[in-house]
């Protein structure tokens, strides 16, 4: 408002004194003698009031020379105030600008795939990969893998999530000791697989479970297949699961893997150094190297790392118990969980960890006859004791 009528603005102290007193629009009881020193000592505080006064009194405009002087003085003050305000505002904004200029170009998310693959693992990986796709700041993903597999469908779920994510940003996987069976299926769509040279199980493209066996008549079921299909069907379905696994791996890494389909289907688990040679993995490396390479691939010179660990070291899908000695075992209920028909994508190296000692899951040696089980268990214990002695 004041800028609209600059000519009529004589806001300075020198002219205020004589004119204002009789026409004071303030308190009429104010002592007239005190107003001059008060205005002089606090001109800035009174400035607004002073600005209004000439307008209110409709005093005749001051002469040109005096107006230009006043104007010059006012501009100088205004510039000073504006500069102070600008400095303050700049100080407010500067940290943000500084951060924007010097901060990371983006984030590399490190997502852990650890332990037995079950629903919890799959949820963890799928959720975090989805977040990586939705979150603009995440521009690359590294999967930190140490798992010997688990349930095939959950592995497939992670496979799909990795494949989807790899279509929009670099997704690298880094395998420590185990990246086998279901875990290998999960990371097969990754753009690059790093392995430790001493990784002990990379690959193991196949599934395992109890050998197909017929079930006897059971009056409690409403159909002959309710307790399990016939052995031929069991055999075929198992092979179908294995073929799905093999086809997935060939789809994703068929060009890299130098083995033919039959060799892949042998389901061997390779050492890290072998895996790089035969194409199951791409190069040697660990998580840090994978993070750096993924960031470079995503065009980030400066990046942050966001590590997403699995929340619980204990998988939730398979019931587990903690024994008094601290070891974790599959609960008795697990036997129902891992029924005869359940086929697992688990590498031999991770078998005990996955199904536990209490579950009779003779993946390689078949199911024992009911009557012979007791005797066999005894001999197994004996041989285990013997083996233990040899090992010690």
């Amino acid at each position: 408002m004041s800028s609209e009528d600059p000519p009529s603005e004589p806001p300075d102290e020198s002219t205020d004194e004589p004119i204002d007193e009789p026409t004071d629009d303030g308190d009429p009881t104010t002592p007239t003698g005190s107003s001059a020193p008060a205005d002089r000592s606090a001109p800035t505080a009174e400035r607004t009031a002073a600005t209004d006064r000439p307008t209110a009194t409709d005093r005749p405009t001051a002469t040109d020379p005096s107006a230009s002087v006043l104007d010059r003085i006012g501009t100088r003050h205004a510039v000073g105030v504006a500069a102070v305000l600008a400095v303050a505002a700049g100080l407010l904004v500067a940290p943000g600008v500084y951060g924007a200029v010097t901060g990371p170009d983006g984030t590399v998310a490190v997502i852990e795939i650890d332990g037995t693959i079950d629903s919890g693992t799959a949820q963890h990986v799928e959720d975090n990969l989805r977040d990586a796709r939705m979150n603009d700041s995440i521009e690359a993903v590294v999967l930190e893998v140490d798992s010997g597999g688990g349930l095939p469908a959950q592995s497939e779920r992670m496979y799909a999530a990795v494949d989807r994510t790899a279509s929009v940003m670099p997704v690298y996987a880094a395998v420590d000791t185990l990246g086998a069976s279901g875990a290998y299926l999960a990371i097969a769509p990754a753009d690059r697989i790093y392995v430790a040279p001493s990784a002990q199980a990379v690959g193991s493209v196949g599934v395992a479970g109890t050998a197909p066996a017929p079930s006897g008549p059971n009056a409690g079921t409403t159909g002959p297949d309710k307790r399990g299909s016939d052995p031929d069907t069991q055999r075929e379905r198992r092979q179908t699961l294995a073929n799905l696994f093999i086809e997935n791996v060939i789809e994703q890494r068929g060009d890299e893997i130098e083995l033919d389909r039959e060799a892949i289907a042998h389901a061997d688990a390779y050492l890290g150094t072998e895996a790089v040679a035969n194409g199951f993995a791409d190069r040697f490396g660990f998580v840090d190297g994978a993070v750096a390479d993924a960031a470079a691939e995503a065009g980030m010179e400066d990046y942050a790392v966001d590590t997403r660990r699995t929340e619980s070291p204990v998988p939730a899908g398979i019931p587990l118990l903690e024994r008094d000695d601290g070891t974790i075992v599959v609960a008795d209920g697990g036997e129902e969980e891992l029924g005869d028909g359940l086929v697992l994508a688990v590498a031999p190296e991770a078998w005990d960890e996955t199904v536990g000692d209490d579950v009779v899951m003779t993946s390689y040696t078949g199911r024992l006859p009911a009557d012979g089980a007791a005797a066999e268990t005894t001999s197994d214990e004996d041989s285990a004791a013997t083996n233990g002695g040899e090992g010690a």
Binding site: A211, A213, P231, E236, Q239, P369
Partner: protein
């Protein structure tokens, strides 16, 4: 003042709308939403592309022979039995504590050979089971009346019984021995007098199989009485066997491999030495497998082989009668009344 207020409000509204408008337009222009991901390829998930090839089903066991009634003694080793209970056990290796593998079919001792025994009895022959040295009747005693002998577990025969079988075979008694993987040592021990031996390991085939690498497809190498009408059969767990002075009767495909060497090649899994036939698999006799491929034809041929020919002239004099007679005197003394009981068992 009223004019100033209006101007102020107007200016505020103008600037406010400008800022919001810029934000809106900028959002529309700059924000593309989450990146478009590629769909996960799922062509290779279709059942057509992953369903394993399997052999034909529905084969039947048929005998052609019109021989008069023969007596076939069947020995099945020491496995367990029970309804839906036992499974045939496949020891993978010899040794003090052999690891055992399930070849995937329901066994049970007598259930495991029901297609064969049913065919024999249906054609008027008699089947008598021998349950080992704890049986009421000794094996020599039973063999002295028998025309043929079948064992699915040569390693379970006692030394005396093995000697008796050897004499029986020497005398022309038709004998079928099936030996699963892991029984190479026992088979060699039993078969060496006839030039028959077993090899360690098992044969598998990753390419041509019946939905599992262990379920190898086996074809005849020559036309003979055992292989007549057989194009291919399925063995759920095949053990390589061999014979001196001859070639195998049945052999696996060239794509098969031996577990111990991983060498690809055709491996003999059935051999014939005069009246002795040795097959490196017992699973083909089991009810679940008898209808697969030409297994039924092979079982029929085996049945014909067992009952065709002259009755062996074998006598177990002192060697056969004394040791078992000493152990089980009544059993040795009462062979004639026994036959009715085993045949009753056979129909059970």
């Amino acid at each position: 003042m009223s004019v100033d207020l209006r101007t102020t409000v107007g200016a505020f509204a103008l600037v406010f709308l400008a800022v919001v408008g810029v934000a809106a337009v900028g959002g529309v222009v700059l924000d593309g939403g989450p990146p478009e991901t590629d769909a996960v390829a799922d062509d290779h998930w279709q059942l057509d592309s992953v369903e394993p090839e399997t052999v034909s089903e529905g084969g039947a066991v048929e005998m052609e022979s019109t021989e008069p009634s023969n007596v076939v003694v069947v020995h099945l080793g020491g496995g367990t039995t029970g309804l839906g209970g036992g499974t045939s056990i496949l020891p993978i290796e010899d040794g003090d504590a052999p690891a055992e593998a399930d070849i995937g079919t329901l066994g049970g001792v007598r259930r495991g050979v029901t297609p064969l025994t049913a065919a024999l009895i249906e054609n008027g022959h008699e089947v008598r089971f021998y349950g080992g040295i704890t049986s009421g009747e000794t094996l020599p005693s039973m063999l002295s009346d028998a025309d043929a002998f079948v064992t699915t577990s040569p390693g379970a025969l006692s030394a005396t019984d093995a000697d008796a079988v050897e004499s029986f075979v020497d005398a022309g008694g038709r004998t079928l021995v099936t030996s699963d993987p892991g029984g190479a040592g026992a088979l060699t021990d039993f078969g060496s007098p006839f030039g028959v031996y077993g090899e360690a390991g098992y044969v598998y085939d990753m390419e041509n199989n019946d939905a599992n690498y262990l379920s190898v497809l086996v074809e005849p190498t020559e036309t003979g009485s055992l292989t007549e009408g057989v194009e291919r059969v399925v063995f759920r767990g095949a053990a390589p066997v061999g014979v001196a002075d001859g070639s195998a009767t049945l052999a696996t495909a060239e794509t098969s491999r031996l577990s111990t060497t991983r060498e690809a090649g055709s491996y003999g899994v059935a051999v014939r030495s005069d009246s002795l036939a040795v097959i490196g698999d017992s699973s083909f006799l089991e009810p679940e497998n008898a209808g697969r491929a030409d297994n039924g034809v092979l079982i029929g041929n085996v049945a014909d082989f067992l009952v065709t020919g002259e009755a062996p002239d074998v006598s177990f004099g002192p060697g056969g009668a004394v040791p078992p007679g000493g152990a089980v005197p009544p059993g040795g003394a009462t062979p004639p009344p026994e036959p009715t009981e085993p045949s009753g068992n056979a129909t059970a």
